[in-house]
């Protein structure tokens, strides 16, 4: 009797596993679908995309590398000019992303260090302000900020894009969450050894906070690479556009740029996808920092 019950339980579990795993297989197929369709379309003339819309099409015989040849400036005509433009946007995005990540992480790290490792008068109030900045959607500040940035003379420059978002509240918040779990005794030991306050923050604490840096780096890189609204307002010259703004300018009703658009879009996902696949285990820690403690 008991053995039989064991058997049905085991087979129930098997059926459950097939259903449970099956749900995720189907879901992931749906998730991959638009990207796969886009990838396939990037090997077909852009004209077709405008005329027929986007759909999965397994007819490999009609696929060509023409769009990518055009993207890399290998097909003559306007190809060279368009290719140069595209890779200029690409380069702009890369530089902007790297600068944003490095500066944001450093600044936020030191702010969080000050907020977490010391006891001082304004501490509680300042932390409240960090939270308060999160409660105002950026879109509300956008227009006055645009005026301010113009008045400061940093419109149409990288500084205009980077500076307003430099002290990102969520980044400070995450670093603080992480540092709170670290032992403060280390600081006193270093002080006795004659290390200055600033020396401690760089030489002692920074190496221990490496995992936090990794997870914030990828979140910040993603945000910056894909950021669109604010850079669209700040950058005015085509030569300064980021990839996202540039791709958006290709979306004309005439559909004459779709060769470049579809190949360029697919090629534009690559850097962030690579970073993601390398750092994905840190990412999950990073994005869930605020969720557990509420």
């Amino acid at each position: 009797m008991a053995a039989e019950k064991q058997k049905t339980l085991a087979s129930n579990h098997k059926v459950g596993t097939v259903i449970g795993t099956g749900i995720f297989v189907i879901l992931c197929a749906f998730i991959a679908f638009p990207l796969l369709a886009g990838l396939m379309a990037s090997f077909r003339p852009g004209r077709e995309l405008v005329q027929n819309g986007l759909a999965i099409n397994f007819d490999f015989s009609t696929m060509t590398l023409d769009n990518y040849k055009y993207l890399f400036g290998l097909s003559g005509g306007t190809s060279k000019v368009d290719s140069a433009k595209y890779f200029m946007w690409y380069k702009n995005s890369l530089i902007l992303t790297i600068l944003t990540v490095v500066l944001t992480l450093l600044v936020c790290y030191f702010i969080a260090y000050g907020l977490t490792m010391y006891k001082f008068k304004l501490q509680g109030f300042l932390f409240f302000l960090v939270i308060a900045t999160m409660c105002v959607p950026f879109e509300i500040l956008m227009l006055p900020l645009y005026q301010e940035v113009t008045a400061l003379g940093i419109i149409n420059s990288r500084a205009g894009v980077i500076l307003p978002g430099l002290c990102g509240a969520s980044t400070i918040f995450f670093f603080r969450q992480y540092m709170q779990s670290l032992p403060k005794e280390l600081l006193d030991a270093a002080r006795i050894d004659g290390c200055t306050e600033y020396g401690i923050s760089v030489k002692i604490m920074m190496p221990i906070t490496k995992p936090a840096f990794a997870s914030m780096a990828i979140l910040c890189a993603m945000g910056s690479w894909n950021n669109m609204l604010w850079p669209m307002l700040v950058f005015r010259d085509t030569s300064k556009f980021t990839l996202q703004i540039g791709l958006n300018t290709l979306l004309t009703p005439y559909g004459n740029n779709y060769d470049l658009l579809i190949a360029g879009s697919m090629f534009g996902i690559i850097p962030i996808l690579i970073i993601y696949l390398i750092f994905q285990r840190y990412l999950i820690d990073g994005m869930t920092a605020g969720a557990v403690k509420g």
Partner: protein, 298 residues
């Protein structure tokens, strides 16, 4: 000079040096634009200068048909995303945590990928999949179901299917990861003692899991409320610009952008922004009271 150096390096002074960039950034890039936004919402701003017009913009907003449409669209979008993007990712997270799912790592990695694609790229892909051409993915589906192809993005009902699917496509995986981290923080011995008491799976979910991941749920609701209310780029990309047929895709931020950037009517646009802030804060406060966050529970 030496004295200054001593103060600078003292343990008392150090925290203030560390947080100085935050204070500066707070004043320059947060408090100043916020206050000037509030002031601008009471002004008429043109090239000639600024003129105080009192509450005129707000009175005009109350009678502005487009603004009403925008507010209704934004609120509706927010509510629908809450309905779609809270229960489904939660269920998926519970399923992912259970012993029933194999190869968990693979699914987690894939489900996050849509969030990596920019709105420009994902919006373009969805616009093309929902194109009115007979060959588009959705119209192929219609043909397969024995119906005629339709212009998906031209009427609200079908266009919002595209809009919401785009939103679900991008955020289901992200919200699931939030819930997963919440589930991970629950002590599993609670479930073991529930097993001994003979609780079934539904009871365990309802009486243990749900109350225990409340902080995570509140967090996800809060960010969804803000993201839903300030949605703009998704609509901007899906309709290839800031105008949609009969304004079916017009949102509050879309209207703010239209008045402020496209028509250069900054004062009026700032008033739109202020209304958005009031709605967002009001919903946030109601939500926090409803979920009992203000009650001290040490």
């Amino acid at each position: 000079m030496n004295k200054f150096k001593k103060i600078f390096y003292s343990q008392k002074m150090a925290p203030y040096v560390f947080v100085l960039p935050f204070i500066l950034s707070l004043i320059i890039f947060w408090a100043y634009p916020l206050v000037s936004g509030i002031i601008m919402s009471f002004q008429d701003i043109s090239f000639g200068g600024r003129e105080f017009v009192g509450t005129a913009h707000y009175v005009k907003l109350a009678h502005d048909k487009f603004f009403t449409t925008a507010v209704l669209n934004s609120v509706e979008y927010m509510l629908l995303t809450l309905v779609l993007l809270i229960p489904i990712p939660l269920m998926l997270a519970v399923l992912m945590e259970s012993r029933l799912t194999k190869a968990k790592g693979v699914w987690k990695v894939i489900m996050y990928i849509p969030a990596l694609t920019s709105v420009v790229i994902s919006g373009m892909l969805f616009r093309m999949m929902f194109s009115e051409a007979a060959g588009s993915q959705m119209n192929q589906l219609m043909t397969w179901l024995g119906r005629t192809p339709i212009a998906w993005l031209k009427t609200k009902g079908t266009a919002w299917v595209a809009l919401l699917l785009l939103c679900m496509w991008r955020w289901t995986g992200v919200n699931m990861l939030y819930f997963l981290s919440g589930l991970k923080s629950i002590d599993t011995s609670i479930y073991e003692s529930a097993d001994i008491d003979g609780a079934n799976a539904v009871q365990k979910f309802w009486y243990l899991t749900l109350p225990l991941i409340k902080p995570t749920t509140i967090y996800v609701i809060t960010i969804s409320v803000y993201a839903g209310l300030s949605m703009f780029l998704e609509s901007f990309m899906l309709w290839n610009g800031n105008s949609s047929p009969k304004n079916i895709g017009l949102t509050i931020v879309g209207y703010l952008y239209k008045r402020g950037i496209e028509k250069n009517d900054l004062g009026y646009a700032c008033a739109v922004g202020m209304v958005l802030m009031i709605i967002a804060l009001a919903i946030n406060v109601i939500q926090l009271i409803a979920t009992g966050t203000f009650k001290k529970e040490d």
